[in-house]
Symmetry: C2
Subunit: 211 residues, 2 copies
Amino acid sequence: MKRIPSKTVERLIVYRRLLASRGDEQSRHIYSHELAGLARVSAVQVRRDLMEAGFSGSPSRGYEVEELLDSIDRILDAPDGMKAVLVGVGNIGRALLSFLAGRGLKIEVVAAFDSDAAKIDRVISGCRVYDAQTLPERARAMGAQIGVIAVPGPQAQAAADALVEAGATGILNFAPVPLVVRTGVHVEQVDIMRALEKVAHFAKQEKAREV
Amino acid sequence: MKRIPSKTVERLIVYRRLLASRGDEQSRHIYSHELAGLARVSAVQVRRDLMEAGFSGSPSRGYEVEELLDSIDRILDAPDGMKAVLVGVGNIGRALLSFLAGRGLKIEVVAAFDSDAAKIDRVISGCRVYDAQTLPERARAMGAQIGVIAVPGPQAQAAADALVEAGATGILNFAPVPLVVRTGVHVEQVDIMRALEKVAHFAKQEKAREV
């Protein structure tokens, strides 16, 4: 399957979420300009993204919503779902476990890992915490393709190395450091501190403009 | 002060973090290619970003690190620090409070808000939780310029409206919905579910390529 650009994938995820959260009383069809309005992008963008995703709707009646959802699912998801493991059961790690638990997601967190003996063998939001030393073999045996890193910065690269050793091909990194991984492993960083500092900078600029 | 592009601000935040975490035994000067190596960008990019930030180093000896840090601080931060309030004390909200507490940050979370009576008046990671109804006047009285939204999607726009009413000029949005705010308010979204779904998509693609 051809590679869909990163930004298109992001928008397809948002379209799916918006379509899935429409009420049952809504029309079974949606026009590109309606979806565009919900997603706050242009109608041209919507049509281009859906075409990129291989979906050809009928512009006269709009897109059939169920069909569109099925089509986006097929592109974005693995048919049998995917397994993820979490590394680092600190504040952010625990919040993620709780946030992701029992949502019936296509992505299931099957194990967590930590090096703190006080946390090992505990069950947090339905997920058991294992010794980080056992990560490579355990994550591989469980068939985890996704690793979520929520350890402090200095430990993040080692966590990434262990995940790659275990066969993970996707990493979601909450640690505030860039990771080095081999080609064939996709890394996505969520940098909360950077986002907060960025907001602070622009908030300061906006404030200065006001006065 | 002129507006620095969003992506440049992001990189300046990363440069500062990398410079600040260098050990004391390191040289007092740093070359653009060294900083570039740490940040995993090109040396040209580093020089362009620092110039954009109004900093002219001496390329023969490299940049003086303390001077560079001071300069980035001046550009990014408000001199007296900034106050933030958090809306929504669920899993993510609590993790953020704990994560941000006692870090001696320039950005201080001075209050949290929730509509759940069981949470109101509790103190979480040193931060008191107030009734969400009191947000506009309380956040204004406290001089909060930044609002962090960690409520479920359907409540996020109302939270944003209350923050803007309170005078906030920057919003960090963890809710999975786009927000509408007036010009002069900067919104930054951290979409954790989207990031995870994106990783899953690319992990699937990479896996498919392997076999």
